[in-house]
């Protein structure tokens, strides 16, 4: 069973606010799920053939892609807090 403190630590890493009740439920659920993952300890040692791995990384030219006029405005319009063409963010320092 993972501890409440661990749950709170992970939630902080994930930038997720959890209520006390959620922390309790998460502790139970996460523990059960992590227990289930123990199954992977039984995976036999297998030799992975190179060909079995996925597709190689794909490369592309770093080029500008023309977009329709007005897309930038639409993207800015979606921001919850803005001033003129700027998205407002709380001061960090």
């Amino acid at each position: 069973m993972i501890s409440k403190e661990e749950v709170k630590h992970i939630a902080k890493l994930a930038r997720l606010e959890l209520t006390e009740k959620e922390v309790e439920k998460m502790q139970k659920n996460l523990s059960a799920i992590l227990d289930y993952f123990n199954l992977l300890k039984n995976v036999p040692a297998i030799k992975i053939e190179k060909s079995a791995s996925g597709k190689a990384s794909a490369w592309r030219e770093d080029e500008t892609r023309p977009k329709e006029a007005g897309l930038a405005e639409k993207l800015i319009a979606a921001a919850p807090d803005k001033k003129d063409d700027y998205i407002k963010v709380k001061a960090i320092l």
Binding site: L18, L30, F37, R65, A78, V89
Partner: protein, 470 residues
């Protein structure tokens, strides 16, 4: 003639022969949605204005004589796929008022074909779930039994097609989200090979697994929609230069593999009977049935619930209350992040973000994430070996038919087990189709046909034979 019961091909012929117009067809569907969807809840939003303007444009196109099979045919789109100017919520409170600023590539392609978009369909929040019970906007009911789920996550799309509220629909599949609801609602659902359909404009769940595909009334329709939406897209680096080519594969001499692990335990006896009966019918037509073994199968679910959440924890970090979506004020920037996510996300999404963050966190990475990546290779290798011996794999889609609403809602692991047969091939990036082949009482059961990479043509051809003899 009941217009909403027509397949794409039948509706296309009707439009071609001027038996009805696309506006007639569209209005009939909109009327049907108004009548039946209050109870079913397959749609999160109905895009009536868009649909009618597209139908009018389609009628002009039809009158000009230059039109395709999808022109003027009304469809439904899973609410995780962006349609410009329309709300796209991913069934989450965090995106409740989000309006899509552009079209997904699949939508651009459908619009070019002259498609009519009726609305956006329900899903589990951010497509995470197997029943649409995780939707922030209520569960979609199964058209065959309204006390039961339609499956998920593309449950709205499956129910809409099954209840004749759309001629076809698009869904997305990360661990079974097209095939499982298709099976539970008795429609055809195709999860294409990873890379054959562009993911651009699909709200990300787990990027190494997500794939868009069709839910349709029959196999022919699935082929038509798949052909229209597939192909390379420079906006999705993982999309592949792929062109669908029809294949004519006969059942006679076809080598069908049946994985013994898929019938070992946990499968409903009636489901097993229906699937085995279907396999027997293929054998009677001359197919060679071979029992195969996929020893990696028992590890697939654990592997998926590490890799999926790991990718989720990264992908959903973007919902920070700053760029778009719900924003809840906090005392500082961190407070905005914490509160926006805390208020905006539902229980299952939070759970998966937590699992993902945990397995990627310092000290646990090797034991979980790295291990899961190795298991994923093991799974790929297993399937690669199987396809050296057989042409296609036949197995169940879901271990059980549609379950009762609420039955599994409080137990995440028992819900995760709903995808036990759809997850393994997903981790190998393979294509699979769910074909309705029988019923337990009123409840439909789907057969899963899995092919090697980019062999959708083989799957579709064989599925169309099985469709005739089921």
């Amino acid at each position: 003639m009941n217009l909403t019961e027509l397949t794409i091909t039948q509706a296309h012929n009707g439009l071609k022969n001027k038996e009805f117009s696309s506006v007639d067809l569209t209005k009939t569907y909109l009327g049907k949605i108004k009548k039946t969807d209050k109870e079913l809840n397959a749609f999160l939003s109905v895009t009536e204005e868009l649909a009618l303007s597209q139908a009018e444009a389609a009628d002009k196109k039809i009158n000009s004589g230059n039109f395709g099979e999808l022109t003027g045919i009304p469809c439904a789109i899973k609410d995780a796929i962006l349609v410009e100017g329309q709300k796209c919520t991913a069934a989450s409170k965090i995106l409740e008022n989000y309006v899509a600023p552009y079209d997904a590539t699949v939508i651009q392609k459908l619009k070019k074909e002259g498609a009519v978009i009726l609305g956006k369909t329900n899903t589990d929040e951010f497509t995470m779930g197997s029943s649409t019970e995780n939707s922030a906007f209520g569960v979609t009911k199964n058209p065959y039994d309204k006390t039961r789920v339609a499956g998920g996550s593309s449950g709205g799309s499956a129910a809409a097609v099954a209840a004749d509220e759309a001629c076809y629909a698009l869904g997305s599949d990360t661990g079974g989200s097209i095939r499982q609801p298709a099976s539970l609602c008795g429609v055809v659902g195709l999860c294409p090979t990873y890379g054959s359909v562009s993911r651009y404009g699909l709200i990300a769940h787990a990027s190494s697994l997500d794939q868009i595909g069709p839910l349709t009334k029959n196999v022919e329709d699935a082929k038509i929609v798949f052909e229209a939406i597939s192909g390379k897209d420079k906006m999705d680096a993982t999309s592949t230069d792929y062109k669908f080519e029809e294949a004519k594969v006969e059942l006679k001499g076809l080598k069908i593999g049946v994985p013994k692990e898929y019938f070992a335990k946990g499968i409903d006896k009636e489901v097993e009977k229906i699937i085995k009966n279907s396999i027997k019918k293929a054998q009677d037509q001359g197919a060679k049935i071979e029992e195969i073994s996929l020893p990696s199968s028992e590890y697939a679910l654990a592997c998926y619930y590490i890799i999926g959440p790991a990718e989720i924890s990264a992908n959903l970090a973007r919902f920070d209350g700053i760029k778009y979506g719900l924003s809840v004020d906090g005392k500082d920037l961190l407070g905005v992040y914490l509160k926006s996510k805390g208020h905006g996300f539902g229980a299952e999404v939070k759970r998966r973000i937590m699992i993902g963050t945990y397995v990627l966190s310092s000290g646990y990475y090797d034991a979980y994430y790295k291990k899961a990546q190795e298991v994923r290779q093991f799974i790929r290798q297993d399937f690669a070996k199987a396809f050296e011996k057989v042409d296609l794999i036949f197995c169940p889609v879901s271990p059980f038919p549609a379950f009762k609403i609420g039955e599994k809602a409080d137990d995440p692991i028992s819900m995760y087990l709903a995808d036990i047969y759809t997850i393994p091939m997903k981790l190998a990036g393979l294509p699979g189709l769910s074909l309705p082949v029988g019923k337990i009482g009123e409840l439909p059961v789907g057969l899963q046909i899995i092919g090697n990479h980019f062999q959708e043509n083989k799957i579709l051809s064989v599925a169309s034979h099985i469709e005739k003899i089921r």
